[in-house]
């Protein structure tokens, strides 16, 4: 294994923690600030997506164009969804 990359287990712990965090957060926070919770849920999802892409799909160590294409996709889709969901 490459010393620079975190272990799959570390990534898994982060993913599960983010999942549970978003879940509890939207249960507790909905009544207070629904729009804020919605945006936070989406941001968490795309952070998870990026973690899976970089570490499990191993895009962190790949050729630059491939990594950039993935990062661009995350930013573009994430940005589009967050905007579209925040509008209404």
């Amino acid at each position: 294994m490459n010393g620079a990359s975190p272990l799959p287990r570390t990534v898994w712990i982060a993913l599960v923690a983010l999942t549970l965090l978003a879940y509890v957060f939207q249960l507790e926070g909905l009544a207070v600030a629904p729009r804020f919770v919605g945006t936070a849920v989406l941001i968490t999802a795309f952070v998870k997506v990026r973690l899976i892409g970089l570490h499990y799909m191993e895009l962190k160590r790949t050729v630059l164009p491939l990594r950039l294409a993935f990062e661009a996709w995350v930013v573009m889709l994430g940005g589009a969804l967050i905007t579209l969901f925040a509008l209404v």
Partner: protein, 189 residues
């Protein structure tokens, strides 16, 4: 493709990424379509979403994340020549993946029993269609994982290892798509 000396490795093979990004693009179209329809009737979407079973969505997310983790471990172990331990990780990946299918089918059953069908309203149209197409991906992915498991037992040629990597990448794609589906279908209100 580029063969630079510092070995930035392309997981699977270059051609694989035509399909991976193609799939990401199609699902992006799905998600944006969903967001656009939601804007037309946010109240209906919110109130339909409340009828989904968040717990089973959460369980399924954890199952897929764990399955992805197991497959990442399996690939790493194969890479370092630990075929037997790779096989047990692949088995775990398969098991968690199969459990996802069971939970999903139970969830569909629950929806049908509650009188919720794809034609109930626009939200359930998307819910059934998107999760259905995703479930198709899961089934294809399970076949890919079965291949990974099989590869752990046979002598590993470079071509075979490339195929294992491609299967793993596809399985992680299935995971990625579910993470977004879970957020927009089950959580976002």
């Amino acid at each position: 493709m580029a063969d630079t000396p510092s070995e930035p490795h392309i997981p699977g093979e270059p051609g694989l990424w035509v399909m991976i990004f193609g799939d990401l693009l199609v699902f992006s179209l799905f998600f944006v379509t969903f967001a656009t329809y939601r804007m037309a009737d946010a109240a209906l979407f919110a109130q339909s979403q409340a009828r989904l079973n968040q717990a089973s969505g959460l369980v399924n997310t954890l199952l897929l994340l764990t399955s992805s983790f197991a497959i990442a471990v399996a690939v790493n172990r194969l890479r370092s020549g630990e075929a037997v331990r790779a096989r047990s990780a692949a088995n775990a990946g398969l098991l968690f993946g199969a459990a996802f299918v069971v939970v999903k089918l139970l969830e569909y059953r629950e929806k049908f029993l509650a009188g919720l069908y794809p034609t109930t309203n626009d939200f359930f149209m998307f819910y059934f269609a998107f999760t259905g197409i995703h479930l198709l991906h899961v089934l294809v992915g399970l076949a890919a994982l079965a291949f990974v498991r099989h590869a752990c037992g046979a002598p590993l040629t470079p071509g075979r290892f490339r195929a294992v990597e491609a299967c793993a990448v596809f399985w992680h794609l299935v995971d990625v798509l579910w993470v977004i589906l879970f957020a927009i279908l089950y959580l976002h209100n």
